[in-house]
């Protein structure tokens, strides 16, 4: 037990003396520096080598200290052993006392008996840095000989001078050396000016260092060899083989995998996981009876409409209503009267007075009213539905106002009266001074436009189907289709010189010497000379066809004209040349009932309208250029814009189709403003106007501007519906015609009149 208590006490002391325990190196250094001049001392000379090493290896301090720690532990173990051994050999106690560590000699001297030799187990890391080396003397790392002349050697932590210990004279020192067996291991500490006795370990250490051995004496460099990695083949081998090179190279397969992922991310197939939004707290539960003024947070419904609120009870509902709310006799009578229609009553109940709230009976309509309220809530709209609101007007393109598109005909200014039958057809002379009309009363009449005077009347035998004034102003000729004949008539108005010249030209048939009329044409048509009587009345040439001619049209040069016999099958279209009196049948195949033909105003094209389609033929190349598809059942009329790139087609099924030949073979625009089938269409030569006449006794004038810019589509604005003609036999307007220079429109009707609108 005694040893145990001793050991405990010693540990305590060690803790206490921590500050006192010195780094061995320092002590040694101090010793060495002190005894530098003392070359006689053999041992101290031995230390000098150590000192050099120390200085060189200043960077290895940590290693050393680590190593010291290890050695300390060893020391500790040794301590234990020594402690154990103290019991056994207590006689060499004295040696043991000094052996463990460097202890100041005075202490050693004074506590040789009282204390066990201190084996400092110190934490050298506590003052590891060189700054705080020896804290007993604060003078620092200075040459200590500066203090040689002073009684003190430095200052302690309190600032008090550390007095030099008394050192006897050389004799005393010598004697003490001689007496003291430990003197060989005693070194002088210049910092404190005290002698320090080195422990056995210190000495051992010094010896090891000096002998170029491993300083730690406990380290065994000759431990037995354990062959961890053998060359023998083992069942579960642990190889010492270095890692293969490929273990340092990134994996190719993984690289491909990563590449694929990168691609997927790039393409948007793979998306980073959306981090859970923790900021918005999702309501798992919501307040059922939320505040009324806030909109209800209904997750299912976007943009919800708050439910309609029930009417709040008023004074009438009170259990004690003011007397004015009580029903009067009249009100009661009314209440009773409305028993069949209770929803018309002012209140659903009769206000009654009760003396107290207690006396109020149960409300018999409660369940029903709740139910009705629930129904209301159930049926009321719950969400605002955003609908795209497009007004029909917005879809219609912005058209200019008709007012801005003047001039155009608006009022009937003149009525040309004189015909006794339907006026089927009208045509004007090139200057616009005269008008010719053909009627069912078997006459053609020439009118003066300015006055409405009928100048001439030509009697023909048959209904006049079509008249057409020759557009060439150098010839005074009118072509009129009457039954099977086409008459070329000199109207006898206009320039007299031209009339005379025309007569001159037509007087004699040009000689057909080198020309043989083809059999096919000969079967269809003959050019006849009029007899004297007919000549006198104006007829110049008569072309007798084999079927009824319905339409004639002049080429703009005035030499060629075409005639149409709808019943002629493949011989229904004929083109005649006036100057040579020849005719040709341009088509060998029948494409349907031909309604009318027109020449292109500028280019050698021929428009042929059959019942459903309009075909455009190139007359030079003799081929079909275009086929316009109207989508109509029955085309009635055709008009070509003076520019030649736009065609108007009127149909019996009320449609007016505008074709832009550059654009498409389908109608650019189809107008359905007429109440009945369209009979005639016409373009104005100068103004951007076109008109259509219909069986509903009206003519519609429209603005049709064609632009030179190919990218700009024509502007079509219906302008005015012109009425005035009377209905006769279900027929209304038969023909429409624009004045060649003025914005005036002529219409001919079934009522036997021609009207001029200006």
């Amino acid at each position: 037990m005694a040893t145990a208590s001793k050991s405990a006490k010693r540990r305590y002391e060690i803790v206490e003396n921590k500050g006192n325990s010195e780094d061995v190196d320092d002590i040694i250094e101090a010793q060495v520096s002190d005894n530098a001049d003392d070359s006689t001392d053999e041992e101290s000379s031995e230390y000098s080598g150590l000192e050099d090493d120390e200085e060189d290896d200043s960077g290895d301090e940590e290693d050393e200290s680590a190593w010291e720690e290890a050695s300390d532990e060893d020391e500790e173990d040794d301590d234990e052993e020594q402690d154990m051994s103290t019991n056994e050999d207590s006689e060499d106690d004295s040696e043991d006392k000094v052996a463990p560590t460097a202890v100041p000699i005075e202490q050693v001297e004074s506590s040789t008996t009282a204390e066990e030799p201190a084996k400092p187990v110190e934490d050298e890391y506590a003052y590891d840095s060189s700054d705080e080396e020896d804290l007993r003397n604060t003078v620092g790392n200075i040459p200590m000989n500066w203090y040689d002349e002073y009684p003190h050697i430095g200052y302690d932590l309190e600032g008090k001078p550390i007095l030099k210990p008394k050192r006897g004279d050389e004799i005393d020192n010598f004697l003490r050396k001689m007496e003291n067996p430990e003197s060989w291991r005693t070194v002088y500490d210049p910092q404190t000016g005290q002698d320090v006795v080195l422990s056995n370990e210190d000495v051992e250490l010094i010896k090891n260092v000096m002998g170029s051995r491993i300083p730690d004496g406990s380290y065994n460099p000759y431990e037995p060899w354990v062959d961890w990695f053998t060359n023998e083949v083992m069942e579960t081998p642990v190889t010492g083989r270095p890692e293969h090179k490929r273990s340092f190279i990134p994996s190719r397969i993984e690289a491909m995998k990563v590449g694929r992922m990168v691609h997927a991310i790039k393409m948007g197939w793979m998306k980073p996981r959306v981090p859970k939004d923790t900021s918005v707290e999702r309501h798992k539960y919501y307040l059922m009876w939320n505040a009324d003024d806030k909109s209800e947070d209904v997750r299912r419904i976007e943009n919800p409409i708050p439910a309609p609120k029930p009417r709040l009870p008023g004074h009438a509902e009170s259990y004690n209503p003011p007397p004015e709310y009580a029903f009067s006799d009249r009100e009661i009578a009314q209440w009773n009267r409305l028993a069949d229609t209770p929803y018309q009553r002012k209140f659903p109940f009769v206000p009654k007075r009760f003396s107290s709230l207690r006396a109020v009976p149960a409300y018999d309509r409660f369940a029903r009213e709740r139910f009705v309220r629930c129904l209301d809530l159930y049926l009321c709209p719950r969400a605002k539905k955003m609908r795209l609101t497009i007004q029909p007007e917005d879809l219609v393109p912005q058209l200019p106002k008709p007012r801005d598109l003047q001039p155009f005909p608006t009022v009937c200014s003149m009525i040309f009266k004189g015909h006794k039958g339907l006026v089927r057809t009208i045509s004007h002379d090139p200057s616009g001074q005269f008008l010719i009309s053909g009627s069912d009363d078997q006459t053609l009449k020439v009118w003066e436009v300015a006055t409405g005077r009928c100048f001439k009347t030509f009697e023909v035998k048959g209904t006049v189907r079509c008249v057409s004034w020759c557009p060439n102003s150098a010839i005074a000729l009118v072509a009129a289709a009457v039954d099977n004949n086409v008459y070329l008539i000199n109207p006898g108005v206009g320039d007299r010189l031209v009339q005379a010249k025309t007569d001159e030209i037509l007087k004699e048939m040009p000689a057909q010497t080198d020309y043989l009329i083809p059999q096919r044409v000969r079967a269809v048509l003959t050019w006849n000379e009029p007899d004297k009587e007919q000549w006198a009345s104006g007829f110049r040439v008569i072309l007798t066809h084999f079927k009824a001619v319905k339409h004639v049209a002049w080429h703009s040069k005035g030499d060629y004209f075409s005639s149409v016999m709808p019943e002629g099958d493949n011989r229904s279209v004929l083109i005649h040349q006036l100057s040579r009196r020849r005719s040709q049948l341009p088509f060998s195949k029948s494409k349907g009932l031909v309604q009318c033909t027109l020449f292109h105003p500028l280019r050698p094209y021929l428009f042929v309208a059959t019942q459903r389609h309009v075909r455009v033929y190139n007359l030079l190349k003799q081929e079909l250029t275009k086929k316009l598809i109207t989508g109509a059942k029955w085309i009635s009329s055709l008009a070509v814009h003076p520019g030649g790139d736009n065609v108007l087609v009127g149909t019996h099924d009320r449609r007016l189709c505008w074709f832009d030949l550059d654009l498409s073979t389908k109608p650019y625009q189809a107008l359905r403003h007429h109440g009945q089938g369209i009979r005639a269409v016409a373009f104005h030569k100068r103004y951007p106007l076109f008109a259509s006449g219909s069986d509903d006794c009206s003519a519609i004038v429209s603005h049709g501007m064609v632009y030179n810019d190919l990218l700009k589509n024509p502007t079509i604005v219906p302008l005015k519906k012109l009425r005035g003609h009377d209905k006769f036999d279900d027929f209304g307007v038969f023909d429409v015609l624009f004045h060649p220079t003025q914005p005036w429109l002529f219409t001919s009707g079934a009522d036997g009149t021609i009207r001029l609108y200006t």
Partner: protein, 428 residues
């Protein structure tokens, strides 16, 4: 009188007016009167008559007055008129009164065989042209003097050139592209065709004579304005002719009737509908191409141009006030200032016709009066100060009026498609 009192007695709003006049004999003291604002012109006339009767002690005969406020005749109730003119009714308003132009009286109706398309009066003689290709000479008393065939197309214009003693010359133009100059002995009515002018390539629409009666201007459907010598003797013709002169002079010396134009003025793009020769030797020509052009007749150049937006059918020039009235292919008569440089500004528009106006004619004595005839069969007498209502409507025709003339200040004549020429006697 009762009506006046009645209207005075009603507590209507009163306005302060002052009656002024430029006619000395009707002058009134310059005192403002307070009259009800709803008063009309006839009551005003009664009022002024009463005032005049009070001022003149001697017997006073009723005179019809017309009233001008701000240069325009009062046709509506006075308040409305003022409102229309935007005049403040708080201040005293000057009302100018003048004797009303007396109503023309229908005098005669001269029956023709066909439409009467041209007419011209000169003193007591009326020359008419008809669609049956004949010319007629009438006396103003309605007696038919002679029928002159000769043209082979409907006559479109006639014009007396001069009457010296009993010998008169006149010109006629026709659809047959000729202008003919005739002489007539006004006692025996022997007619001789002096010249046939050929040169127009289409029908001629109009003819006019210059003030010296030496030249004719014609225009027609060939868009040309041609000037011809009007004299009946062929000497002058050869003198003046310079262009195609050589051949022409030989023709003339050969006692031929034929005559060619002295001058051809191209410029119009459409038919010329009427020509007017002014005092200062200028020619106004109206055309279907929406222009009225002013030509220098001596030099043969275009001087200025008035552009309208409708075809012009007729133009008339007044030498009294240097303005033009025009009839165009609508129901308005438009007044242009011939002197103004900007030209095309319509000074006022006279609207009362319901059909095309085919003819207009200024008075030769009154600087503000003109007549117009239209396709609505009515001949209207206008005062240029009354743009919204004519002074008088002269009803009687049963067809479109084609021509009208007021060359004789006391006679207004109009020919129409009802084959008659109506004569209205103008009182003033």
């Amino acid at each position: 009188m009762e009506a006046l009192k009645k209207s005075m007695s009603t507590d209507e709003r009163q306005i302060q007016v002052r009656f002024v006049t430029k006619q000395e004999k009707y002058a009134l003291p310059e005192a403002p009167f307070s009259i009800p604002c709803g008063i009309k012109a006839d009551l005003l006339s009664v009022l002024v008559n009463n005032l005049l009767r009070e001022t003149r002690e001697t017997g006073w005969e009723e005179v019809e007055f017309d009233f001008l406020v701000c240069g325009e005749f009062v046709r509506l109730p006075l308040a409305e008129h003022l409102k229309l003119k935007d005049i403040n009714t708080e201040v005293t308003i000057d009302i100018e009164y003048l004797e009303r132009f007396p109503a023309p009286e229908p005098e005669d109706s001269l029956n023709h065989d066909d439409w009467v398309s041209a007419s011209h009066c000169f003193k007591d003689w009326i020359l008419t042209g008809s669609y049956d290709n004949t010319l007629h000479i009438w006396k103003t008393d309605g007696s038919h003097k002679t029928t002159i065939p000769g043209h082979c197309g409907p006559i479109k214009g006639v014009r007396w050139i001069e009457i010296t003693g009993s010998l008169a010359t006149f010109a006629s133009v026709s659809h047959d592209q000729t202008v003919m100059i005739w002489t007539v002995d006004l006692e025996t009515y022997a007619v001789e065709r002096v010249h046939i002018g050929r040169g127009h390539e289409r029908s001629i629409e109009c003819v006019d004579v210059d003030k010296n009666s030496s030249f004719l201007a014609t225009g027609g459907w060939d868009h040309m304005l041609k000037i011809w010598a009007a004299t009946s003797d062929s000497v002058l013709t050869t003198e003046i002719d310079d262009g195609e002169n050589h051949k022409l002079s030989t023709v003339n010396s050969g006692k031929s009737l034929r005559r060619t134009p002295l001058m051809t003025l191209p410029g119009h793009k459409e038919a010329i509908s009427s020509v007017v020769w002014t005092e200062s030797n200028e020619i106004f020509s109206s055309s279907w191409d929406h222009t009225i052009k002013l030509w220098d007749a001596e030099l043969g150049g275009l001087k200025s141009e008035i552009v309208g937006n409708k075809s012009f059918f007729c133009v008339s020039y007044s030498s009294l006030n240097q303005t033009l009235v025009s009839a165009s292919a609508d129901r308005h008569v438009r007044l242009y200032d011939a002197r103004s440089q900007e030209g095309s500004v319509v000074k006022s528009t006279f609207t009362s016709h319901v059909g095309w106006v085919s003819t207009v004619c200024w008075s030769t004595t009154h600087e503000r009066l003109f007549i117009s005839g239209g396709h609505d069969n009515i001949l209207k007498l206008w005062d240029s100060r009354s743009p919204n209502a004519p002074l008088y409507d002269m009803v009687g025709h049963e067809g479109k009026i084609l021509c009208a003339d007021w060359s004789n200040p006391s006679l207004m004549v109009s020919g129409a498609t009802d084959n008659t020429l109506k004569i209205f006697r103008s009182q003033a």
